[in-house]
Subunit: 229 residues, 2 copies
DNA sequence: AACACGTATATCGTATACAATCTTGGCTTA
DNA sequence: TAAGCCAAGATTGTATACGATATACGTGTT
């Protein structure tokens, strides 16, 4: 994460945003520890503020705070991974439909810009950035649908999806999905709610099916395995 | 809210739980202010702990914290009221289906106990308690469905529903809904997922249709109106 | 040599003191 | 009298100091 260069001290919200970005871009891996003093020094604020930021990220599901041990980037279990995508499957298709029925030209333009930015990031081999932008695309649809409550939930689900992807994503056949986003925008441009809903449903299943559902072992175990080589 | 009588100081979680209960039971009305010092004295803890509790309730949507002004019980707008029930309509029917397919005898017994407690509360004219129990019933279904992520979201939605009901509920024909809960349990007992899903959908629409959707004015305005009488 | 125990250190949890901000009441003035 | 302004008090925001807990390391014992 980048240090603050401004003169005014960072707010808890800004710190939370930067940490979120780092996790979404996989610069901070699940399991990574965030020591309070360390974060304090990086952002030049007191622990009070940092603790606020960490606490808010715990509520979002991004961090797990263990009493007297500290804050760690969450490591969703396989069950949680399932639950996240089941919840998304319930919320997002009908939200895509509503967005398709409401989207104006400016909205469409913004989504297209988004897709371009994704492609550009991939071209520059910044897979983390592309992943973050991909998540933002889904949030943007909820915003267009003018469903603030669902957008709020989706924010948490996208956050957790990012962790799930970090843990369970198959590296091969990595990036076949930008077409799905493009097709969605096309449906929205045509005011085709039915199609948008179906495309979103399929898109989520696509992502879900690309997860490796075998249970990952803990780091300590994989260290043991490594020593046997 | 009742003061703590225990010897050990209250935790932030306990304080949050008691405040939540008070709001759910409508002993604390939307718009009510919660001064930090006041809450400190009631629970015998320092402001650090109280601020944690208030902050967590803000994340749940129960409180709204205005910078340098304090924490208030949230007053959902009409749009937010709509959004809450739209989100519930997306999440709860399929959750009821899953619960129906998973519920065992103990689960059914618990739900029946819940309904009885609701009736008992109504008989004692404790409408607030009955309302809280009614919300817990919905959460219990998510627990039975073994959908922790959805349960978490539903907890927030039930909380906000309680605020919506406090603001927009029509007093007349107050309590025709306990039958709906009973019918749901029956469907679950019969392992009838289809029916459980449909019943839940109808139940949510019922509640929603009993809300008074005319825009309420602020307290100051209603005071003016009151002076004209 | 391996294990258990105790102490030292690092880290988090809580209380408190101080600073910043808002609110309230009284005063002035048009 | 009503409106505007200033000062005092009340309330929240932040930093820091202290206490509690967990971790790591070294020592002693088997």
């Amino acid at each position: 994460m980048s240090a603050m260069t401004e003169s005014t001290p960072a707010t808890a919200e800004q710190i939370a945003a930067q940490l979120t970005e780092a996790v979404h871009e996989h610069r901070l891996q699940p399991g990574a520890k965030l020591r309070e003093d360390e974060v304090c020094e990086i952002f030049g604020v007191s622990r009070t503020i940092v603790r606020q930021a960490l606490r808010s990220l715990e509520f979002e599901g991004l961090l797990t705070i263990e009493k007297n041990r500290g804050a760690f980037v969450s490591k969703p279990t396989l069950k949680e991974a399932h639950e996240v995508f089941q919840a998304r499957a319930l919320l997002e298709p009908s939200t895509a439909r509503a967005a398709a029925e409401r989207a104006n030209a400016a909205d469409i333009g913004l989504l297209e810009q988004h897709i371009e930015a994704e492609h550009a990031a991939l071209d520059r081999d910044e897979a983390g950035l592309a992943l973050k932008l991909s998540g933002d695309f889904h949030l943007e649809i909820a915003r267009i649908a003018d469903q603030h409550t669902i957008e709020q939930f989706l924010r948490q689900l996208v956050s957790r999806s990012s962790l799930v992807i970090a843990l369970y994503w198959r590296r091969r056949n990595a990036l076949c999905e930008s077409n799905a986003h493009h097709a969605l925008v096309e449906a929205m441009q045509n005011r085709d709610g039915d199609n948008a809903e179906e495309l979103m449903k399929g898109h989520l299943l696509d992502i879900y099916s690309q997860l490796d559902l075998r249970n990952r072992e803990e780091g300590s175990v994989s260290l043991k395995e490594a020593l046997r080589l």
